[in-house]
């Protein structure tokens, strides 16, 4: 259940950033989690609410962008979409595929409120 420690890492990072920016709360967190990143967004959402309790992100909405996997063939250079680390090049049949996207795992931005209601 690495999503829990990952949720805690996210809370920690955004809470620190928001405090440094003088925020009183975080209303939204934008994440980019590629489909090959090894993270289940639903499990992460489940853990996040528990992990964020008591932090500035306690009420924050999670917006998760999930880019598709893309692979590039090392033999012919063809680029195509992949949903797994194992893929065969549709052009030349090679298995020497390098993943070029889909492994992203980023905190992109947060929306903060600077003054309490």
């Amino acid at each position: 259940m690495h999503e829990m420690s990952i949720a805690m890492s996210i809370v920690d990072a955004v809470d620190a950033k928001a405090r440094a920016e003088g925020a009183v709360r975080i209303s939204l967190i934008e994440l980019k989690i590629g489909k090959l990143a090894g993270i289940l967004p639903e499990a992460l959402r489940f853990c996040f609410s528990a992990a964020a309790t008591g932090s500035l992100a306690g009420q924050a909405q999670l917006v998760i962008d999930e880019p598709d996997g893309r692979g590039r063939c090392s033999d012919c250079g063809h680029e195509f979409s992949v949903d797994f680390y194992y893929a065969r090049c549709p052009e030349c049949g090679s298995l020497r595929i390098v993943i070029v996207s889909g492994e992203e795992f980023l905190i992109q931005s947060i929306i903060i409120d600077e003054e309490g209601e």
């Binding site: 805690m8 996210i10 405090r19 929306i111």
Partner: protein
Amino acid sequence: MCDTCGCSTEGEAVLRMPGKTGGHIHMDLKSHSHEHASGDHPHDHNHDHPGSRKVLLEQDVLQQNNLLAERNRGFFEARNIFALNFLSSPGSGKTSLLEALIPALQASTPVAVIEGDQQTTNDADRIHALGVPVIQINTGSGCHLDAMMVNRAIRELPLPDGTLLCIENVGNLVCPAMFDLGEALKVVIISVTEGDDKPLKYPNMFHESDVCILNKTDLLPYVEFDALKCRQNAMQVNHHLQWFEVSAKTGAGMAPLQEWIEHKLKDH
């Protein structure tokens, strides 16, 4: 909670050294200050624009772990320490493999071991019996080691220049793949009592690893396990994998593995 100082999943983590009395070492998680703990430090934000605004971070979620892993890596480089991170499901024979490798290797190079488990010092006790420095990290409820735990453990271990440091991760084919510890290489172990489709079922682990060791080959006549198919499955997930087939119990296949480690120790 803060991944930098380790007070996230490893809130219950403790270090234990076999042969040393006096209990164990807590990770001392609350002994340093947190940027986000005080709340009374000055801010220079602009109060002329109250309300909401967007702040860009563009940072890796595991940035704090990764930064600490790089610190560990720098420490290892400075001391010419070669660190291997051993990963597998429970029961694949990580500790037995170390028990078979270490006596052969320690004649020519100093060896030290970090053991990761949720509970007990059972594995560390077995390694301690070999006469090499070992420290046990008990992660409590944690399902993986992280860079902070390793950072604390290497402060407690005697690590002469040129040491081979074996890190035996918590038995788990999922979570440990996510966490860089600062190791030189990740070594995944699979045994023939598991399925030969393991690399396809747990692709992240095999994708992240540099070396794959198929263990318990002495049991091949008794189990339905296609070693060639397993290798093909692993290579499909990661065509850079270095592959070894061994029996830690009988010693079969251990010589090429040992030679490869010795070669790496010279060249890293």
